[in-house]
Symmetry: C2
Amino acid sequence: MTSKFDNPTSRDIAEIAGVSQATVSRALRDSPLVREDTRKRVQQVARELNYFVNRNAAGLRTQLSNTLALLLFDETGGADAEINPFFLSMLGNIMRSAANLGYDVLVSLQQLTDDWHIEYQASHRADGLILLGYGDYRDYRPKLKALANAHTRFIIWGPIVDDQPGHSFGCDNESGGFQATEHLLKLGRKSIAIIGETSGRSPELAARHEGYLRALREAGVMEEPALHIAADHSEEQGFDAAQKLMASGHHFDAVFAVTDLIAIGVMRGLQSGGRRVPQDISVVGFDDSPLAAYVTPTLTTVRQNTQLAGDGLVRGIVGLIKGEPVESRLMEPSLVIRQSCGG
Amino acid sequence: MTSKFDNPTSRDIAEIAGVSQATVSRALRDSPLVREDTRKRVQQVARELNYFVNRNAAGLRTQLSNTLALLLFDETGGADAEINPFFLSMLGNIMRSAANLGYDVLVSLQQLTDDWHIEYQASHRADGLILLGYGDYRDYRPKLKALANAHTRFIIWGPIVDDQPGHSFGCDNESGGFQATEHLLKLGRKSIAIIGETSGRSPELAARHEGYLRALREAGVMEEPALHIAADHSEEQGFDAAQKLMASGHHFDAVFAVTDLIAIGVMRGLQSGGRRVPQDISVVGFDDSPLAAYVTPTLTTVRQNTQLAGDGLVRGIVGLIKGEPVESRLMEPSLVIRQSCGG
DNA sequence: CTGAAAGCGCTTACAG
DNA sequence: CTGAAAGCGCTTACAG
């Protein structure tokens, strides 16, 4: 079953098609320099022999890999850690957009704490990097600087942060926080708690908090600091925060949780404390995680369109690769109304 | 900021370290042929200059890419289709296992109906393929044959099917179906409905049905064909199936749904029909989807360990690449007990 | 232990 | 429109 032409090269194609190897190369790249009938003949032979251009050779010659490296930062860090489903969904859309533009995607899981494997471009395995992950931007900074110093092309998913090296593409979290809070206010809620850690280590979450404050301000509602409970991104912490909130004795009729996972825990906490959602308390989340549509009641939340996000990131990095001017941008999130707010 | 050594080659390192280019190559690959102090010196210089071996050149020379291609089959097919979260979770574990063995992973979304992009190996972008997806094996067959004919190394996630070309690694779905049903029987349930399409187009689901039948047989319980309702893998179809089942008037006290999404729809359908889960009806799913722990009640289900799965697939394909003997294997799933069965 | 040399399979200026 | 030739940056047999 094995023959001389099992793993053909452009030389083999040339020989059979009766042209030079250079012409084969041109014909397969659809060069207008090659006469049409020659081109067709060469392509025909290539197809018959199942020939594909050796990407290592082509890449060596052109210094281009037509590949993007996607670095996914694993916030959880554990061996069997689950990857954030939001990023996973983004990953799918990044692969789609990249494929549309003729790029392969090399995916790599990275620990936020590790030294990142940033040698993808230096080793000519990728033409540019996409960085995906939440985290503390103070830790990021020096590594981003190292990337920039190594002349690596990269685009990072996230907010636009002053003085941060490189380009970014993100979601307008402030607007999302505003939309969520405004929705609660329009439903007549007046005492809106906010649950989540927004101390600024994550600019994303801080921005959601900012949007919340702006909505209150614009509605002439006083901020009540006692209604702000910290919680990390987990169901358990949401549950605990709801307990704390009820135990505090402060009146509240709505909760804006800065992530869906927190919101889901909050709803469980409220229900276990005898509060009905949404009759007594309205709850909004953030992310539109796949879970949001299946919990009881289904969760009203703020969605970041992962298709737009993937597309924005891919267009951004491909622009950088091609030397086009690229601007850091934010995209607009949108409110997805389900059952958890009533109304 | 740009200097002569911005994009250094092994020749630059050689010049600075005062050795030949060949010695640089050997030193960086930790060859025992190089004297230790020479090796250290070379590695030091490489580090200082931020040098990384050009993978295109190395790959061209060795005919190896140290890369695995992961083809993910998109069952849904739509432009904004969501990827099955089970596969997404597998993807994470595949990347981890591959990284541990020194392989990069090139991920590519494929339409089941399209011509697959199987040229990864022929183009020397990858040393082997991992195929991930559910689907109709009758459609797969010719494409797998084409892969095998092209001498492509590949391993497919799924059951061991007679005469199927290539190697596979999968989950013992029959055992999973057995475990789920046995659990219901042990809880004293006698009239166990099964919901899902198991007509054989998917051998995975058919095997789950087989396990169900074996558990009934071993418990001496008669199979009741009226308690088998077809449903595709969606929440809506699960809901509809539950309605049909209740409308049929047949007595049943438990449901085995062949996927979690179906199970979640079934629970909603039962509840909307006034049946209490788990008090009146026990429900078991299959997959341990991320949703299972968050629905109400939380869903008892059969879990396929994605860490073992990812590891098995990667070890399999790497074995094939290295020319080692590789056997197709099945791994054992396990029951995850939550609230939906009571007991 | 080290070096000089060949060659992996392309792409593309150069020449005609 | 086509071909001969150079060269991308490695790895590895070969020679010493």
